[in-house]
Amino acid sequence: MRIGDAKQSYEADEAIWTSSTQKIWFACFLLALAVFPFMADAYFLYMGCLVGIAVISTTGLNILTGFTGLISLGQAGFMGVGGYTVAWMSINTELPFPITLLFAGLLAAAVGILVGLPSLRVKGLYLAIATLAGSVFLHFIFAEWESVTGGMGGLSLEPAHFFGFTFQSDFRMYFIIVPLAVLMVLGAKNVFRTRTGRAFIAIRDRDISAEILGINLLRYKLMSFALSSFYAGVAGGLFAYFYRVVTPESFPLSMSIFYLAAVIVGGMGNLLGGILGAAFMTLIPEALGLLTAALTPFYPNAPIFMSPMLEIIFGALIVGFLIFEPHGLAEIWHRIRRFFSLWPFRN
């Protein structure tokens, strides 16, 4: 346990960072994020952007599944709504990216509310299936509403722009994606310092008691769906700007499962866990790729084993974390931190 953190005021006690050490570390982290694109090569820059997008989407899903206890298999569909919104707006309007991304989030949130409506009557696994149905319909719309979505061929879009400045390179996109990711994670952190966040957690832990204690279940479940889908929509919009093309195949069901896995591996109901999970799951294929490359000179058929190994590792991570470390990477992180906060005086 930390000592020496007695507070003079409730304001100080309610702050996100309660010690100056924490503040310094966070400042260092921000600085590292800012310096990163100037140091990284194209490949790392690309991975950095991907992780940023994944962090936003995972945080969104964490709000819904991790904090509110509503399992969703529709995350990729909501991202698709965001992606198509951005694509359509960038083709048909001149609006700058903050507006298009906002619309992407809002439209995704609206769709999220629609898909979440059954949560009034069904819960748990039935709800998961309802979200699955939602994503099947969304995929169908993406594929068939050709006049808007371009059908199976999808849409290609212009780079993000803002007051005449265009963001056509990964380097520039980084400065949209990462600050937005930081902001949105902080926003989520704020939510869980207030009544809204407490209501979400209460619904997850004991929904019936929560209702009797004054929480309007439908309202807060839908709010959680809306917020979560908003995050997904923004992530999907960034995805569209980043790849500059969206097709129905850009948002498959496996993507929804990927984000669920990221939440589980990172730690359900833990924002830091969501971030760790997003980064970890995004980087695993790359790490495995490096390993394969290193092995290929000795085992020429290593690449053949890579894709199956990836599936196996993906599955094993889900199963392993659920059985052995249900609190995910976040818990491992906390253990390491606890160790070092007293190190070297312990033992």
Partner: protein
Amino acid sequence: MFKNILSKGRRLAGVGSIAAALVVASPAMAQDKEPIVFGGSIPLSGVFAFAGVHIHAGLTDYTSWINSQGGINGHPVKYVMEDTGYEVDRSVAAFKKITGSNTVPVYYGDSTGFMKTIASELNSRGTTLMSGASFATALTDNEQYPYQFVPGPNYTQMFGIILEYIATQGKDGDMPTVAFVYSDTEFGKDPIENGKAKAAEMGIKVVEEIVTKPGSVDVSAEVLKLRRARPDFVVFHGYVLSPINEFMVQMRQMGLDTQFMGTFWSSDKLIINKMGADADGYMGVMPYNYYDSPESGPMLDALRAQAEKSDPDAGYRPTGYIQGWFNAMVWTEVIKRTMDAGKELTADNMAESLASIKDWDTGGIIGIPVTVHDMSFPVGRIWRVNAKEARYEPVSDWIHLD
């Protein structure tokens, strides 16, 4: 049970040893000139791996062969690739990684999705010309994809070649009827609209149109529809194997004498290997000669010799191998023409060189001289499965669309 691993392992082992030999060989070539890099996002694993491993072998072997010929204008060639698992995001990552540490004038893309995704980056870089596994019609649109081409006819042109063939098969002056069966994917839907227009133009009636999911699906209801429509020809597109086999077997069980045809990726030997006698009579459009076709030519012979040399046990090489080889051949031709014109290897200059290809002799890979139209090689031939011999045999002349 482990037969598959073993056979695959052996196949790749051959590839690997050649790649290792390559590294040793290139400094020994004693050329001071900068190497030219062929980049590639290659699906060695994942759903497209069955073709990807052969594409990889084709590119690798071509690289060895061209280096043995003294490289391109004295520049040695280096082939640098990454496995993608046929996932777009990993393909993009591979592209960034490879172009980040090399100057890459030409690049192999593993899917339409990847090639569309990377287009904007390709256009703003202006350094790299790209072709690959995709024959998507969209990629031959010069406005949107000025630096990408297809190494053969695009899917629409394949349909055109198929329809030209079908038009010659009418009995008693009647045009035959046709049905299109395609998968519910970007790949599957690519040529359908254009194909229908072309058929209408030629007076061929499209009597049925069927969309299915690719892969393992029950198609009995669709077969019943075809039984009602009674098309003379059924053209498959967007499948690798299933459900083509099921359509053919069930329709023949019903006593229909329909002819079945497919496009490039549905015309591999996989169909014969898996379906056996049921594959007999199936027809495919193919712009290249098959590995075991009786034709010959200097380049085709070189390809066979190189394939034999790199892996003597492999025997037959699938269409993916030839496709990979042909891509590299076109790159070489384009680079050579650009260098000969004294120009830099920019994407613009190379695209210009590509467009200048006219009546090009491919040394037997393609049976007739070819001319580039709109970033494609609109040529092909109809081949028919002889199940007894376990191979495709030509049933039409080479058809060159204008």
